[in-house]
Symmetry: C2
DNA sequence: CAACTATATCGTTATTCGACGATATACGAT
DNA sequence: ATCGTATATCGTCGAATAACGATATAGTTG
């Protein structure tokens, strides 16, 4: 159906650096309100077991589990199994590339605005 | 899990704060390597006309235009029309909520790894 | 052992995304 | 007026995402 990719000799290769891909993957993992909520929750409390997250997020258990899986796959959170629970906690260091990317973007203004997000 | 009460009055409202939604929207807009590349490009040069971006990104013109549209919709870039060109530039301030979110996440004692982008 | 709890996974469905080529638009230059 | 350039939009396709209920898994407790 589609005409054959003539892309043989020309340099139509998307110029995606591995760095770009890594940063985009982190941003993508954070690109859903429920996942932002989960991360915020883990920041407020130190650790959370999954069922508390399910309750607070307000989505179906299976849906929440999927969001947790995405965050885990990106390395942003870790889940320590404590059968039958799973104890989730933040692993903020993996966000460094994204964080530094953003910090280079913003015209180095005041950094002292670091108020913690309001507790839920 | 206790049988969840049927979604009658309360209970199942996804607890998404407007703040969470805003942060997630920004992250989502950055959640693609091509868009990270565009933003990086606009950071390196000060402004770019679209055709240069198309060339550097290496995707079809229509695809690149779509990525530009997404970034524009999120407010991350602006496009000033200079017919027949459009001159794009960064508007990094709108990223503040996401940036601050990340900065509260990352333990502030972890500032050692501050190498700028591009060192690969 | 049986029941309960917490979580992950499966199957499904509807929606969105990402990519492309083709086409439309709008201006400057010839 | 026609051509060329730069950009946006349309239509389409396949893939990915988000959501859910149902079910499977695995440990704890009665």
């Amino acid at each position: 159906m589609a005409t054959q990719p003539i892309r043989s000799e020309e340099t139509k290769s998307p110029t995606e650096t591995p760095e770009d891909i890594a940063i985009a993957a982190l941003a993508k993992a954070l690109g859903h309100p429920a996942r932002i909520g989960i991360v915020s929750m883990l920041l407020a409390r130190q650790t959370c077991i999954g069922c508390d997250i399910v309750e607070e997020i307000g989505l179906a258990q299976s849906t929440t589990s999927e969001h947790l899986r995405i965050l885990k796959a990106a390395g942003i959170i870790t889940g320590e199994i404590e059968r039958p629970r799973v104890c989730y906690s933040l692993n903020p260091l993996v966000l460094e590339p994204l964080r530094q990317f953003l910090n280079t973007l913003v015209p180095a203004t005041t950094e002292k605005n670091t108020k913690p997000r309001g507790a839920n």
